[in-house]
Symmetry: D3
Subunit: 197 residues, 6 copies
């Protein structure tokens, strides 16, 4: 179970509403490489992970991603709070506003609602960890692109923090994969399946 502590993992203090930035940063909330998908991916995979040490890595990172989705949510909220109708029109944000006002809905930047079709829980230790390595690179790339597009230092700072964490996660999943591979019987190299083999 989880308990909530009323602070962000890393501070977010944005001074100026900027819905044009919020429009694409929301992709890291509910988009194809976003923090909701990351968290659900790892927290879903942990139960069938046969090695308990690696299951612990999944649980730790899945829990940290919950704190990251809160940070992205806060960035989007601070960028859209108090925005005016004129700012919405200038930012071309009417499509979002009409259904969500200034709420933070988990969606792709394009408006597609978050879908779990964007990730896999295969029940296979190697396939799941390769999926996780890829997920961290895709999240890293999305933060790269946000940094290319953003110009407000109040936004850039927490995005840099989030990007740095993805790289750490990538390395931890790499270690997890090594742990699994060291355990494998040679003949069973690819066929590992915790519940059946």
């Amino acid at each position: 179970m989880w308990t909530y502590e009323k602070k962000l993992q890393y501070p977010v203090k944005i001074k100026r509403p900027n819905p044009a930035l919020a429009k694409f940063i929301i992709s890291q909330y509910g988009g194809p490489h976003g923090e909701i998908g990351a968290s659900l991916r790892y927290l879903s995979q942990r139960t069938s992970m046969p090695n308990r040490q690696v299951a612990g890595i999944l649980n730790d990172i899945g829990t940290e991603e919950l704190s990251h989705l809160e940070m992205v949510q806060t960035i989007v909220h601070q960028l859209t709070k108090g925005m005016t109708i004129e700012q919405i029109k200038e930012a071309g944000m009417e499509a979002y506003f009409v259904d969500h006002t200034a709420g933070v809905f988990p969606q792709f930047a394009s408006g597609m609602p978050f879908t779990a079709a964007t990730f896999s829980v295969s029940g296979d230790a190697i396939a799941d960890l390769q999926e996780d390595l890829a997920a961290e690179q895709k999240a890293r790339l999305t933060y790269d692109n946000i940094l290319r597009l953003a110009d407000d230092p109040d936004v850039i700072d927490p995005i840099r923090f989030l990007r740095a964490r993805e790289i750490v996660h990538f390395q931890r999943f790499g270690e997890g994969l090594r742990i699994i591979q060291d355990e494998l019987d040679k003949k069973n190299f690819y066929a590992i399946n915790p519940s059946f083999d």
Copy 2:
């Protein structure tokens, strides 16, 4: 941010694998009325909720639903762990097994991956709270139906706990709605919009 405590909110101790039960209980993990949707709904809505007391209710319940999704995950995991190929075939679970083995993937019982299209974040205090009241009734109904279909007391016990919690949440959201309505200016009864009006 959230921290993880290594225990379930309520114990789940299922002794016999039963994939036939797992096949439909998974709906309360990633289905249209499930715990993932509940948690994301409330945690997403809280940032734009203008009344801080009601935002606190959303945060509390959204956090508790995280613990519920862990319980449902555990139920599904214990029902499928160690199942044999024969049990999979008897349960008609091949479609699930082929992609997920004995992993726990967030999906509808039918196999549709979880989608955030199943809920709303409207950015409007009254619309969001009415959505939440409905969500709790729909979750309650789904647990009713699980109880109608399940016959293993080890499953029935935690499902009854989860069902009871939905009823408590329903009442807390009812109080939240009363708080919002008491604050409303008469003329603004329906038009409340935290960031714009």
Copy 3:
């Protein structure tokens, strides 16, 4: 069965094409809180509603929503009819135009095709009516937001009519819920299920 009468429930007479308005008003045609979803929700729920008086309310409102989807369709059509390529480009409507020209397709404002994942038919009288109360508030909120964004009085007038009807529907569903609750045996308060209990 239904018969068509060649008039709108309330007149729509828009003089100037304005694709920029059409782009987001279409959300009330096929979007998450739109009239297609409303109509299908109520017309689908009516068959399993155990109380015939409440089933009648669902049928009446579901039928009226058919007339509303026709009104929203007409608004979108009049706003896009005869628009020029220049107007499309100015309005940023190329993504819609390329697939639908000036046709009226049931979609979210973002371009996501209408999906029934946006509503529930639970087969439970209380859960369905709470869903309906929420639906009316979400539709009301979407009309609020359209009114915040629109500036053409020819558009504002029928939108105000539609918004007013949602508030009436909200009250009628409230009465429906009271009828169901008055019928309930105390012990069965939450477990009502028309076909099984």
Copy 4:
């Protein structure tokens, strides 16, 4: 606008619950070739149809499909009303039951919620009418398959009626296409676009 008349276009009187039949007949409610899609397709296409006579055909058939979706809904309802938990289990209908009880939800037989991605509104007279001819053949084929699978004469009778109507609609859309083609300027044969050319 539409008005409701409390009778079915063709009577449905099924005496025995049979959820195994309901499970796949529901495809003609909300599935890829179903009556909801048919109705929304034609009623959406009519506004941009340049020829008023053909727009009238779309409106007539779109309205009749509303009555067909009511018939399919009634078939599913009568096949599932009063079914027992044992009948649900025998029919393998748990996945549906857990979320919808004995309600009638617009979905594919597989459980995918109805999606408007299954049809097109192209804003082009010829493309739309070809889409409609295809739609009628696909609905006809689905009724063929239902007839291959069903053995209850109370079900077969209204399905035969619905199938016969699709064939009539196919012919009427064929006439509609001829009307459009007769109107076309030779050079404009494929490029017809009601609002732009």
Copy 5:
């Protein structure tokens, strides 16, 4: 099986990046009437087509559509290659860029990922061929609309080629339908079903 030949079916040589054009042309890659859907539709339908000559038409055109999706991909790539952040912002392409950078992802112009819900494989010769006739008209219409919106002759030229091919395909599917109808037993006119009747 297929073998790749390193040339395009028709040359694409675009000199100036223009992401504003790429944004909607991508619909013919992964959109509702696009080349990926066309290719998968025909290549999927061919196995159950009872007449081998018509199956050959499906295979030929399905294979040609593979070459068309490569052409559309190349158009989008050349329009976005080397674009600057300023050009992305001017074109309003941030939502695409954040997840895909300058990669070519199969999606609707609106950002909805390609879905096979946009086409049918009915296993019925007549229904499939009517679907294919409609598909060619819808693709033709989408190219019409691209031509209405595009102003770069380097883009217009290959789009005209692609549009011309759709018209040829339409005629070949018309011949295919005639072949099937000539084979039909009168009484079986609509009920043809290769594996069952």
Copy 6:
């Protein structure tokens, strides 16, 4: 462009219809780890891949996956061709049959139509290659599970071939990743972006 050669990459000769097997093998046609997704993923990624040697690997493997989707299609076709209504009912395949008869539709085993949301084209060389490594492991895992469930040697033989090819692809993508990493400037380790950096 591609040309078709009328033979399979590896022979498929199944003697007995067995729709129960077809029901889940179809996941490797249009499911989350299937051959359609694999082919579209690699063929989409190749245009933005900066290193031409690695782009060649993507093109080769993407082309080979086209031949694999043809093999899976053939397996499903041979398993369902000539099946009787009784066999359909025994296999619980009514939901598929009603919409697709014995046609081969690209879908998940559960019935969800293929969706490109299951893969990424990130426009980033490292993120794309990690995605591809994961994709090969997930495909390998799905073939593992098919082998666990299947008992017909005529099916097992080509599935083993397909599984072996995924392992070869995994290794080639590993080499591709090494090529990219060798090219990287140290400081740019994670930020590679072909069009912008």
